[in-house]
């Protein structure tokens, strides 16, 4: 990994929210790394803490959040080429706003209608960031914006600069949001459910657009999503989150073809693919835990049909499967009974491997 440089490194992140009902321990120790040019997808249900993690990295946590520990190291290079690494959690909001947000780290939100300002023209919104961060002239900003809009596939860019968001379709709006995110040439792009509000046909186009731009500019991308189809299309690495913890991490191929954590099994089999003919879908029983009430042991144990006795007392550590593949489940301990994934999922993975040209059962 020498040729890659680490751009984001999160260690032991721990965040709680003060609410009227008590303290909600939303993030309970997260570690992950991101290298330049790579794509990580963070997968999990709502409330698993995936958005909170990214908001912490952007320094835009809600005011009732308190960071109890951990570091988020972000590396970038100054305009003169000198490298710099900062701990986002140690910096104040104003500094982050000035030096990081929009400039080196940009975010694409779920709903393009709510992330664009309805009272400003598209052109002004694309130009705003570069004028503020780089103090370029209006003419220069206009020229660059035009080029950006063309780059994200907007035809008639000159005319569109004068349009307001409501005059554009959902897919076009999301393209504008991407153009704004790219306007300051960031090193890291965070996409928070970028296609959930869009139709499948447009979703495919937007994902292909982000991928193309990523390749051309060599930027790193973090996807936050619950859609495993999207993940399969874009991700190099996947982190599966549950109740504020990463329960399984690995390369996309490892997670999809060789999942080890029962929660990952559940997630994969709960989504039917086009060949699913089973009478019933395999489901994870129950619903995600309320983090207001912390309990000892593994947070997933109450929903886990494979839970062991120890899960009620002690949360599992990360077990190493390969150099890139880790999972937090006691089932991987050498003293644990041998448990296999549900047969439906096993059959499906075999089918997927065949389709992908890998020979089934040969690893």
């Amino acid at each position: 990994m020498e040729e890659h440089d680490k751009i984001l490194s999160v260690r032991g992140l721990d965040i709680a929210f003060r609410t009227t009902a008590g303290s909600v321990h939303a993030i309970r120790g997260i570690d992950f790394d991101l290298y330049r040019g790579e794509t990580v997808a963070i997968v999990g249900e709502s409330g698993s803490g995936k958005s909170v993690t990214m908001k912490a990295a952007m320094g835009i946590l809600a005011s009732n959040a308190s960071v109890k520990g951990g570091t988020i190291l972000f590396s970038y290079t100054h305009a003169d080429g000198s490298p710099e690494t900062v701990d986002i959690l140690k910096k104040d909001k104003k500094w982050i706003r000035r030096h990081i947000n929009g400039k080196r780290m940009a975010m694409i939100f779920q709903d393009p209608m709510t992330s664009l300002d309805p009272t400003m023209t598209i052109g002004r919104q694309v130009m705003e960031g570069m004028i503020w961060h780089f103090k370029v002239t209006k003419e220069e900003a206009y020229r660059r914006s035009l080029k950006l809009l063309q780059e994200v596939g907007i035809v008639d860019a000159e005319k569109r600069m004068k349009n307001y968001p409501h005059q554009l379709s959902g897919g076009m709006r999301q393209r504008v949001v991407i153009a704004i995110a790219l306007s300051c040439n960031p090193d890291l792009l965070i996409c928070d459910e970028p296609t959930t509000a869009l139709d499948v046909t447009i979703q495919a186009m937007i994902l292909e657009l982000i991928r193309r731009i990523q390749r051309e500019r060599g930027i790193s991308v973090i996807y936050i999503t619950h859609d495993l189809g999207v993940v399969a299309k874009v991700a190099d690495y996947i982190d599966v989150m549950y109740a504020g913890r990463i329960v399984e991490k690995g390369t996309a191929n490892e997670i999809f073809y060789d999942p080890r954590h029962p929660y990952t099994w559940g997630l994969l089999s709960a989504m039917p693919d086009l060949d699913t003919e089973d009478e019933r879908l395999y489901t994870i029983p129950g619903s995600p835990p309320n983090l207001l009430y912390e309990k000892p042991g593994d947070a997933f144990a109450p929903r886990n049909p494979y839970a062991l006795k120890i899960d009620d007392r002690l949360g599992p550590p990360m077990f190493r499967i390969t150099d890139t593949h880790y999972a937090a489940t006691w089932l991987l301990d050498r003293r644990a009974p041998k448990v296999d994934m549900p047969p439906e999922l096993r059959a499906r993975i075999a089918r997927m491997k065949k389709e992908a040209g890998l020979i089934a059962g040969n690893e």
Partner: protein, 309 residues
């Protein structure tokens, strides 16, 4: 679940639904859509946002008055002005499950009262005991506990709330349930639970579903037959195998190619087919119904039919 009868439960013929905005401009949401639903089957409607799929659901249950066309439900034409007995039939035999359970349940009423509202309105219970008995039986059926009847919607999780929405639809023993994006607001693991529940209910009660969704893999999983909508036109309809194995219309093909599959090696190599209605030279308005085979119909001109089929 195969169709149990040859007589359709619901027959929609040439349904048009227009919304006049002002004197000059009318939104033509649905343009001449025809399809049937047989007792006990699931008909899936798919299409992008703005294609008119929700409008069809709402016209069928008569939340809108259709501009033109015929809707025959249980042998009765329900597209015109409704008589009292027709209204009664419609409000008891057809029910709807909405997308967002938080928005569709009254936050100020207890779940038991929400579920029993239909019984109260139609005076279907002789006493409080019978009412409670039926509510509790139903809550149990959808996987909730009888004591949940005393709680308010905000005390439930998203999946549980959608179960309440399903219980409310089921209490009248409907023959047809219109499920309008009823799982898209739920988490993945909860979606599977609700879909399983809907299939169990169909097996036990023989109710038919009009399943409206944009998630194609879920639609394929739950539906017997599928209709593909675009710009208010029903472009292609047939059994799920006919649609998914042998799509004919270019729009259907592009829609199917856009479904991401959870298979990273395959998915990374694939690019979706693009489809641009304006540039394709296809005019839906000129198309007529063509039979491909079996129950598989597409809407196109004779010339297009010759090229595609």
């Amino acid at each position: 679940m195969p169709a149990t009868s040859d007589i359709p439960l619901l027959k929609v013929e040439g349904l048009r639904q227009y919304f006049p905005i002002d004197r000059k401009y009318t939104v033509k949401a649905v343009e001449g859509v025809s399809f049937c639903i047989y007792p006990g089957e699931t008909y899936g409607l798919v299409g992008e946002s703005g294609s008119g799929k929700s409008t069809i659901g709402r016209s069928v249950i008569r939340l809108y008055t259709p501009t033109a066309g015929k809707i025959v439900f249980g042998g009765q034409d329900i597209s015109g002005k409704l008589t009292k007995s027709q209204k009664n039939l419609l409000r008891t035999q057809m029910q709807m499950i909405f997308q967002d359970p938080m928005a569709s349940l009254n936050p100020r009423r207890k779940v038991g009262d929400i579920v029993a509202e239909g019984l109260d309105i139609h005076h279907m219970c002789s006493g409080a005991g019978e009412r409670r008995g039926r509510v509790e039986k139903l809550l149990e059926k959808v996987g909730l506990a009888p004591e949940h009847a005393e709680r308010y919607p905000h005390q439930f999780s998203g999946g549980q709330r959608q179960r309440v929405g399903i219980a409310r639809a089921l209490i009248m023993n409907p023959k047809l349930i219109i499920a309008d994006e009823c799982i898209s607001a739920l988490d993945v693991s909860i979606q599977a639970q609700v879909v399983n529940l809907m299939r169990d209910i169909q097996r036990d009660t023989g109710t038919a579903y009009l399943f409206i969704a944009h998630d194609l893999s879920m639609v394929k999983y739950i539906s017997d037959r599928i209709g593909v909508l675009h710009h208010g036109y029903l472009l292609e309809t047939g059994t799920k195998d006919e649609i998914f194995e042998h799509p004919v219309h270019p729009y259907t093909k592009s829609l199917l190619s856009a479904i991401p599959s959870p298979n990273p090696i395959v998915e990374k190599k694939r690019t979706a087919l693009s489809y641009d209605y304006a540039a394709s030279g296809i005019d839906y308005a000129k198309g007529t119904d063509h039979l491909v085979g079996g129950t598989h119909h597409i809407r196109c001109t004779d010339k297009e039919f010759g090229e595609w089929a």
